[in-house]
Symmetry: C2
DNA sequence: ATTCGATATGAACAGTGTTAACTTAGCAGT
DNA sequence: ACTGCTAAGTTAACACTGTTCATATCGAAT
């Protein structure tokens, strides 16, 4: 049955001490993450991750289906932090309008702080190429896809808009549509600032505050 | 060492100075474009473009610096059409607020109609990896970069906001900042629908009209 | 002692963008 | 006619990429 801890057994004794509690899987994730913010996405290749872990490239395939799986898991772990942040805000005793603003700001700042993960989760198309019709299925989306955690984040905003409606404010669209509009506006700011960091944008703080405001009042003017 | 020239009989004496209609350069662009919308971005590779033109892969480098240059030129040509559309709208005798809405809608629809080109122009980071500080240069941006045409598009919106100000409406931010906020909100919608076409978004038309409205009234509530 | 299953490896495959060296064809000028 | 010169294209190769396959090692259970 269960074997305790990990079975060390590196064929070539790695000079770095194997910390307790690290599985090889975690090592890979950690190496990928480090490579990520030290040298950027472009440098984060299978062979370089493997090199960092001190292992050959095919070894990664014992723990991950393919390269995307590694990146997706990495991103999902980061996005879990955003989710936690939003749930914090959710618990604050604020009027719904204010909670909306706090969430918007938290979302934007998070995105700007994790540009690579944000890009992979929301900007990179992993959808198969020839598929272009928008299948409108409210199905149980498979959680392995990128954007799965993204969808969770999104659902938080829906909840707040439902709260807004419950407070008596009339919404011009269904809560889910309101949430999409607010979310997409903030998303636009993050996406553009990440993709075009060299463009001479206006002052970042002004843009953030302005977009938070616009994303709320643009959808529900009375908020 | 036989000079068994099974040589390409396609030695059309296409004097490029002659420039009647199709130069080889244009052929390459056309092939890339066709490949683009027949088989998607992923299939648009140097060798396959070359194959379509009926030429070897390295031949493309006689006309373009690298692969990106091909794609960028392709995108710029498409975006020139958007620019023309916006200039049409610019000439319509409408109140500035209405012109803003018309432009927003045109922008969004254009983006959704040309997802691949939009992605390359606005979503793909071609910025060198380690550069992450935002150099605030109002300079003569080099026109070869992707987003060069994008910047032109953007400047159109700035002009309209200046017209709004001139009409007497007080703006909460400088015109350029207003334009950025409006633009970025619309950009968010386009970017997300392109990147995640399978997500069960609300009705597309509702989102478009809603975002156009929000991108204007969110920034300038009295418009 | 042998089998088993997990872990890891080196070699290789089918791609990618790109560069180098070489071959032509066509056109000027002594 | 014979040089040169230039533009346009070629084949071969390089340095990568993600990924698969056949093989090896090794601790543990039978």
């Amino acid at each position: 049955m269960g074997f305790s801890s990990k079975a060390a057994a590196t064929k070539t004794p790695s000079r770095k001490a194997r910390g307790e509690g690290h599985t090889r899987r975690d090592e890979i994730l950690a190496a990928a993450k480090a490579l990520f913010l030290e040298e950027g996405v472009r440098a984060t290749t299978i062979r370089r991750i493997a090199e960092r872990v001190g292992v050959s490239a095919p070894a990664l395939y014992l723990y991950f289906k393919d390269k995307d799986s590694i990146l997706i898991e990495l991103c999902d772990r980061i996005f879990a932090r955003l989710l936690a942040r939003l749930e914090e805000i959710e618990r604050e005793p604020l009027p719904a309008g204010q909670r909306l603003r706090r969430m918007g700001e938290a979302y934007i700042r998070f995105g700007l702080e994790h540009p690579d993960e944000y890009r992979i989760t929301f900007l990179e198309a992993t959808a198969p190429e020839p598929v272009r019709f928008t299948g409108h299925r409210t199905d149980t989306s498979d959680l392995s896809r990128p954007g799965a955690k993204g969808a969770l984040v999104f659902s938080k905003i829906v909840q707040v808009y439902e709260a807004v409606a419950k407070e008596g404010t009339r919404l011009p669209y269904p809560p889910v549509t309101c949430a999409e509009l607010s979310f997409l506006a903030c998303h636009g700011l993050v996406a553009a600032l990440i993709a075009e960091p060299d463009f001479p944008w206006s002052d970042r703080e002004t843009l953030i505050r302005g977009m938070v405001e616009a994303s709320v009042r643009g959808v529900v003017p009375t908020l």
